[in-house]
Every structure is written in C-alpha cells, then in structure tokens.
Amino acid sequence: MPLLEVTDVGVRFGGVVALAGLSFTIDEGQVCALIGPNGAGKTTLFNVVSRLYHPTEGSVRFADIDLLGLPPHRIAPLGIARTFQNLALVPGLSVLDNVVVGSHSRTSGGFWAAALWFPQIKQERAVRARAMEILSSLHLDHLALRPCAGLPYGTLKRIEIARALMAEPRLLLMDEPASGLTHGEVDELGEVIRRLRNEHSLTVLLVEHHMGMVMGISDKVVVMELGRKIAEGAPAEVQTNPRVIAAYLGEPVADAP
C-alpha cells in the first residue's frame, strides 16, 4: 500500500485551473520529486495535502486515512510535516523556540497546565533537548538562542527543516528547499535530505527546480505542467521523456526550413 495516494485531484480558483485530475502515489521510504515549470501546480498540491486548500474534486489518502475530511491542524499529528517555499517562521521567537513549535502535535498540555508551569517542566526539558539535537545535526545549534529575524536565507530554510523534523513526520513535504542556496550549499542539502531520510525513516516529497539535486537524490520523479501530470518514473526515464523535454525546452518546430 502506498503511503500517500493522490487520486484525480482538481483545484480551481474561479476560472483558473490550478490542478486537473492529478494522480500519483508515493511508497514508504521513497524520495519523490515533483518538478515542472512555474505555475504547474506543485505548491498547490502541497497546500492540498496540508489542507490549506480544499480541492474541488479527487481524494488524498495518507496511510489509508482520508485527509480531505480533516481540518488543517489535524494533519501534523498523522505524521505529515512541511517546509515552505517562502518561509513561514515566527520572527518573534528564538531559533530554538521556532523549532520547538514543530513539536506541538507531539506534546500535550493546554492553557491551564501551561499557566501552572510545573505540570509541563519535564516535557518542556525533553522537547528542548530534542530540538537542540536536531539543530546540531543541521549545524544550527550555535544559533539556538538568537532571534530568527536577520539570519541568512539558507539558514532560515534549514531552521524550517528542523521544525518539520520536530513533528516526527513519516512524510516530509519540502517546497523548494534549494532555492536561494549557493552551489556548495545545494550539494550539501542533497546529502542532508538523504541522511535525514535514513535517520528518521522518512518519506520525502520534494518540489525543486534544481535538476542536479532532483536527479541525484530522487527515487521517483513526477513531472507536472499546467496542473496536469505529464510524466512519472525513475529520474533516468523522465529525463529522456519527449514530453518533459518539450515542457522544459519547448516543442521542436516540425517544418523548419
């Protein structure tokens, strides 16, 4: 049984068709890349899985649970975490606290317990220790007590990954993790993703434009154009697919002089 099953998903914003009849599956443990030109609907699909958008049709199942029947805050407890294309951090909190926010779905304690403080001390210590562990595995531990505001873009992207890992996800959605990184950083990120996949036994769904990285780390690539899937398969297969080449480079002119 696949871990994530996207079946015939369609999203329309007024007259604009963002996704049309999109179907694909991801198996447990895979690194799957979602590629395609801008406007292909990749981020839209992420937002459907996170329940930020409601699709007009289709179904999304995770470990055989129908996601479309759940409100957005019930997605993280199932084991789905994500990062954002344009960063969604909390500037008012320190790096450490930003990461700890990610553990919300794995911890308990409401307002009353919080006000009394002592019922939560133990959990709070454990959660901070774990956040420090994840931060140091991403080489961010020296920034733990700094406010998020003002840190470099690539660092902020890694903080988002740390926050997502705090949710102990089975499926990690990463929206353009390599954008804005230097060449060296991209290579390193590719290694980090593979390493995290192994260490945390993750399944990864990745939106990425950086083809070198995509082809290097993915087990499976889904290619989208204008809200539709145009190809799916192993990286090598996809690279030679004529439709994919056409989507990226344009159609060859048939009757050129």
Binding site: I75, P77, F111, A114
Partner: protein, 362 residues
C-alpha cells in the same frame, strides 16, 4: 547534552532579572509602610489597571488581536463584583474569581466573531463595544445605578443597634506589619491583597507565554499558517486567548470595584479602554513587565504629576499626555521594556566585540 553551551550563556546572566525582581518586590512591599493612607490608596488604584493591561497585552501583544474594548470588560468585572456583593455578600476573593469567570465567558463571546475579522476591523468592532457599554449601563439603570452609580454595601448593625447599609471595607487582621490606626491598616491590607492577586496573575501569564501554549499564541500572531501546519488549533487558541485576556480585565475591574466600593457608568468609558492600550504600549509589548510599568507610568502621570500643574495649565493635561506619548513612541517604539532590551542588546554586542578583539590578540 548538546544544549550546554547556549544554556550556560543564558544561565550566567540569569541572576540579573532575579535581583531586579527581588528589588521591585521589596519596594512594593515597603511602599504602604512609608506612604500615608492617601498615597497608599492612590497607588492601590494602579494595580487593577496593571492587571487589566496585562490581559490586553496577552491578547494584543502576544496574540496580535487588537482590542479597544477592554475598558468594557473591566466594567463587566466591576459590575459583576458589585452585584454579587450586594446580593449575596460572597467573600471578596471568591467574588474576584467569579468576576474573572464571567468575563472569561464574555471574552469568548467576543472572541468567536473576532475569528472572522482582523486588524483594524477588529479594533473598530471592539471600539463599538467600548462606546456602547456605558449606554447599556444607563439603559438598565434600575440594576446598574446608571451614571449615578451603585454603592457596594453590606447590611450591618450600627452602634445604636439599627440595621444600616455600610460601604464594604477590608477588615485588617491583627498583624504587627500593619498600622495600629484601623483606617490606615485597612488601606494597607487592601493594598497587600491587591498586590498578591496581581502577582499571581503576572506569574500565571508569565508561565503561559513561556510554554507550549504560549509559543502557539505567538506563532499565531506572526504566522497563522505555520502554527496551523504545526498542529495548532488556531481558532480554539485565539478564542481561548481572548477569554483569558478578558478574565484578566475582569479581575482588574473587580479589584477596582472593591477599592472604590462603588461602580458607575462614567468610569468605564472609551477613555479607560484607551488608557489600557496606552499602558500596554508605553510599558512595551510583548512583555510581562511592560503592562505593570505602563500602568505605573499612567498612574504617576495622573495622580502625581498632573496635580502639580498650575491651574491654567490643567485643562491642557490630555494634550500634554498626548505629546508625551508621541515623543516617547518616537524615542522608544518598543516602549520602556523595549528601550531596556535595546540597551541590553547593545551591551551584549559590545561585549562580543571586545571578546573577539581579545581572542584575536596574537
């Protein structure tokens, strides 16, 4: 544990706020010992404002929901206290808790529609609540006493053995700490009770904002999507924050009713709501000490500085306060606490620079 290095650098300077807190506590405890009854009563009126401002700060500073209507919630707390005491003569502290519960419910009722409106629109709707509240009180003047007010009294036997209504008062216990003069002892005792209630409120809110729930409150303010995707039930957290914030305003109102032994519609106008906002902003937001500092600033201005103005300047008092606020906001946009934090950051930066300089000496 890997966290040792940042944790240590945090721990090294931990004693600074602790000493500051101890100093503030000593001053607060000593004040009624050195001040006259009049001044003790005056500074006692600042405490309810501080508690209500704390509530507003939780909502506006930490959660990002603007309320210009907390004066009305303060009023709900005050009237709840007045009506309970007049009808049922409950113990004072029980009445304070009951007022908090009533205001919590009122806050949830306002907080539910607030889920749909944000920013300026929410400010406008709560502004309407603040403006309407005194009118509503006058509409039901049979119960509320309208603008003439409602005394909070106890039926008691007087010296001649006749049942009369007597204003409530705090019966001081027989403690060496308190003055031998009964009236003064009553003022002191009331001050200490208020201080205790306020200290508990500040402690609970401090714990709250430093916890899992507090992180989600702040995350909602800065990035609702991030909070939601991390599993925070945003709607529930927002409504609950509104409720707690309102409960704190209600505790403030309840304390103020207990001190004045009287409630009247003229007290809970828009001006009160705005004053609470001023206390929050001047003190510095988001912070725990901010509302207390802001309330003291406001009280100091109203009760200590303003009476010193010459007669012909007095009508200009609101203008002077206004100009003062503008200047203060220009000089310290983060309020008084913000000013302190900036200073701290500057010192830390200077220390870091001098340390690198030392380490680079060949």
């Amino acid at each position: 544990m890997t966290s040792s290095s940042p944790a240590k650098s945090l721990g090294a300077r931990r004693w600074v706020p602790l000493i500051a807190l101890a100093a503030v506590a000593v001053v607060c405890l000593a004040l009624p010992q050195v001040l006259s009854s009049y001044w003790t009563d005056t500074i006692t009126t600042w405490i309810p404002l501080a508690v209500a401002a704390l509530g507003l700060n939780l909502l506006t500073g930490y959660n990002g929901q603007i309320s210009v209507g907390h004066g009305a919630l303060f009023g709900v707390g005050a009237y709840t206290t007045a009506l309970i005491l007049n009808e049922w003569h409950w113990p004072f502290l029980v009445t304070v808790v009951a007022s908090a519960v009533v205001c919590f419910v009122a806050g949830v009722v306002i907080g539910l529609p607030a889920l749909r409106i944000k920013g300026l629109y929410l400010a406008l709707v709560t502004l309407a609540v603040a403006t309407l509240f005194p009118q509503i009180l006058e509409q039901f003047s049979d119960t509320t006493g309208g603008s003439a007010g409602l005394g909070i009294t106890n039926r008691e036997l007087n010296r001649r053995g006749v049942m009369t209504d007597r204003s409530i008062r705090f019966e001081p216990p027989d403690l060496a700490l308190l003055s031998a003069d009964d009236a003064k002892a009553s003022s002191q005792w009331r001050y200490y009770i208020f201080l205790l209630v306020a200290a508990i409120c500040f402690l609970l809110v401090r714990n709250l904002v430093n916890s899992r729930a507090g992180r989600s409150i702040i995350a909602i303010r800065d990035n609702e999507t991030a909070a939601e995707v991390s599993g925070v039930n945003v709607a529930a957290a927002k409504v609950f924050t509104f409720g707690i914030s309102a409960a704190l305003a209600g505790i403030g109102g309840s304390l103020s009713a207990l001190e004045l032994a009287r409630v009247s519609s003229g007290t809970f106008t828009l001006v009160l709501s705005l004053n609470l906002l001023v206390a929050v902003v001047v003190g510095g937001t988001p912070s725990i000490a901010g509302p207390a500092i802001g309330a003291v600033f406001l009280g100091f201005f109203t009760n200590v500085i303003t009476p010193e103005f010459p007669e012909d300047v007095k009508p200009l008092t609101p203008l002077i306060l206004g100009v003062l606020l503008v200047v203060l906001m220009l000089a310290a946009p983060g309020g008084i606490v913000g000013m302190y934090r900036q200073l701290q950051a500057r010192l830390a930066a200077r220390r870091a620079i001098s340390q690198t300089a030392i380490s680079q000496v060949p």
